[in-house]
């Protein structure tokens, strides 16, 4: 019997493709956001509402990831923003190769911002670098305050969090301060935003300003 030492990182290929994606985004001066969160946390709703405000200032495109259907891409296209749909056919996350395969369909030099909406899942997407600049997790109020400690890796690997559906706070037994405390326990560096739908208006001004500033900073480099 022979022992063969291999010591091979099973994620090496994804890391390598993610690095190539990142280099491509850098040379195009394109800022890329990887948006992740549970199914129903409000990822597509957030995009539908902030895209028209972003599009006023920066040229934006969206890549949508879902197990099946083109529903989300159709919703995004209604805002006038280009949207590509990836169907993972049961796959629980997007990987760097899936993104690489879409890039030839976009004119990267004619864009400032690319937002990738990951498959709805608070677990697996956190383990796959896509080449993004910013990882943003969405956590909706109804999901409960302690999700950050129950699903730590999603929050550990993110730089920003948007707490969505804060307009539902009066109807739920969820403490927003407790939710933020749990987030800070896992990752004290997280930048935290809140969004709400009030009187038919989607409130996300700080988040929109933050994204525009990040895009501007990358362009300036």
């Amino acid at each position: 019997m022979t022992r063969v030492d291999i010591k091979r990182d099973l994620d090496a290929l994804n890391k390598q493709i993610a690095a190539a994606n990142r280099a491509l985004f850098k040379s195009a001066g394109l800022y890329v956001i990887n948006l992740m969160g549970s199914p129903g946390s409000g990822k597509t709703t957030l995009l539908e509402n902030i895209l028209p405000r972003l599009q006023d200032h920066v040229r934006t495109a969206v890549i949508e990831g879902d197990l099946a259907t083109e529903n989300d891409a159709l919703r995004i296209r209604k805002t006038g923003v280009t949207a590509l749909q990836i169907n993972t056919n049961g796959g629980c996350h997007l990987d760097a190769r899936m993104i690489e395969n879409q890039l030839s369909r976009l004119d990267l030099a004619a864009l400032d911002l690319l937002i990738i909406e990951n498959v709805g899942n608070l677990v697996c997407p956190a383990s796959f670098d896509l080449g993004e600049d910013l990882r943003m997790v969405l956590l909706s109020v109804p999901e409960g305050a302690d999700k950050p400690v129950k699903y730590p890796t999603a929050f550990l690997n993110a730089q920003a969090v948007a707490i969505t559906k804060t307009d539902l706070l009066p109807y739920l037994n969820v403490d927003l301060d407790e939710m933020k405390r749990y987030m800070a326990e896992i990752n004290p560096k997280l930048v935290v935003f809140e969004t709400a739908l009030k009187g038919g208006v989607y409130e996300a001004e700080r988040l929109v300003a933050y994204i525009l500033e990040q895009v501007r900073q990358k362009k300036g480099k």
Binding site: T2, I6, V123, A126, T153, A184, P188
Partner: protein, 124 residues
């Protein structure tokens, strides 16, 4: 949740290595999994068993080694093992850190039986 895909990738790698080493059989595969890798060892073992029902890996054993999560302090550079949240540096109590280990999934080694010089699989 993606343990089966991970295992398919692992087995493809094992088979490549086994072929290169002229193996008739693979008896054991050693894998190391970090605490923050988001994969469930039980699901990995189940997928391994399901995917090694025949061929040169039939009946092979899977050993999973667990790697701890490791953080490096942003303030003093000290590296420490992550056991529970919230983290604070045991050396300087700073709460600012970067994770430097615990997300990895590594194929460590395989034990294989080489084909005999007569070209038939040896039962070694």
């Amino acid at each position: 949740m993606h343990e089966t895909a991970l295992m398919q990738n692992l087995i493809a790698t094992v088979l490549q290595v086994a072929e290169k080493h002229n193996a008739a059989r693979v008896n054991r595969v050693v894998l190391s999994v970090g605490k923050l890798a988001n994969v469930l060892p039980e699901a990995l073992s189940f997928a391994f068993e399901a995917l090694t029902q025949d061929g040169i890996m039939k009946g092979a054993e899977l050993e999973i080694k667990h790697l701890p999560a490791v953080a490096r302090c942003d303030s003093c550079g000290h590296e420490y093992q992550v056991d529970e949240w919230p983290l604070s540096c045991p050396a300087c109590q700073s709460r600012s850190f970067v994770i430097t280990g615990g997300e990895e999934v590594y194929l460590e080694s395989i034990d294989c039986v080489e084909k005999s010089v007569h070209g038939e699989g040896s039962e070694g």
